[in-house]
Amino acid sequence: MPENTDSKSVQWSPKVVAFVCNWCTYTGADLAGTSRLKMVPNVRVIRLNCSSRVNPLFIIKAFERGADGVIVSGCHPGDCHYSTGNYYARRRFAVLYDLLDFLGVDRNRVTFSWVSASEGNKWQHVVNETAERIAALGPFRPFAEKCGEMR
């Protein structure tokens, strides 16, 4: 993104919003916490009932309000607490993933993942890897500021 002067300043560190499902990823993140796995503190977790609860608008809204990256994570296919929620979510995210790219949003800012309740290590990896990737990309200001200008 243009004019990322902020990324050089000391204060900036990526803000990542994670939409996670209550039954797998949230529990997995909890496990990562209780196992005292080291994770960067850039990720804000928002717990939802299911990954299919994630409206693509949530992701857009997060970017609008200053998030530099978004993680969406739920149960592995076949493991959904509501049997099929994540399958529907997968179709929706597939379209969103392609559309974001077509509209010029760097897809590397969005991470989709499946993390089960026992995969504390995987959650640690997702968080660290995403934060690192976003840090390299720099702040995502265009959505928050440039797009906010009145025409």
Binding site: M1, P2, P56, L57, I60, K61, E64, P77, G78, T84, Y87, Y88, R90, R91, R92, F93, A94, V95, L96, Y97, D98, L99, L100, D101, F102, L103, G104, V105, D106, R107, T111, F112, S113, W114, V126, P142, F143, A144, K146, C147, G148, E149, M150, R151
Partner: protein, 290 residues
Amino acid sequence: MKELRELARKLLSEGTVKVVIGYEEGVRGVRAAFITDAAECDSLIFDHRCVQNLVAYLNPRRKQITQLGKPAIVVKGCDARSVAGLLREKQIERGNVVIIAARCGGVLEDSTSGVELSAETVSVRCGGCETREPKLYDYLIGEAQPAPPVNLRRVELIAKLKKMSTDERWAWWNEQLSRCIRCHACREACPMCFCVQCTADKGQPQWIDSSATLRGNRAWQTMRVLHQAGRCVDCLECERACPEHIPLGLLAGFVGETVKHRFDYVASDDPSLRAPLGIFSNDDEEEFIQ
């Protein structure tokens, strides 16, 4: 044309329908006609200028038209897919509408011109038409038509956009979407936008900036096109309705490509087929998921 007029006259005078929604000669090209009197049926026309998708007028949200009574509607094969969409989503009942399908061999992009069909003038959606022989109808009129010419303008533009870098695409779309005045004409013209309350109109919580900021415009178009994914029949009414000439058909075309590529689905005229985002398959691709 005679066939169409006689059929309309018969339906109206027998009282089968109360209104025939079709095309008539307007001041600027072809426009929609709402014929309620059998004596007026001679103004109905159908030719290669009839680009509009009239199914938006079946939309139950349009009270001023539904109050006229049971309609008969003139559709092209491609528009019949919108009727199928409304049937599929239980917005209308099959018994409450008479579908007059006209065989069509391609329509002009600009209905005001009246020139011959060619690769330059034909609508971009006519290329590779598979609905020249409509399947969903009560009455089928017209003669079998030859395949329309193919207008590659949109395909080429999408390919060009795909070749750009992400930042270039971002800038390109900013340029387009900054013109949006948020009149929501794209929504009003769309046969598949029938929500009683649109998310874009919600104030508590407000999901989308209601003023014409680039931020709100981006969110609005992203949402609109996502809601249309797998339901859009690519009639391009949104693009035609846009007073700022934003190439909304590109979004429709791109999402159509995505849905076809990922879910092997093209908007169908079979109302019993379910839309791809309302179903799933166990082996959907998930190359983008970690």
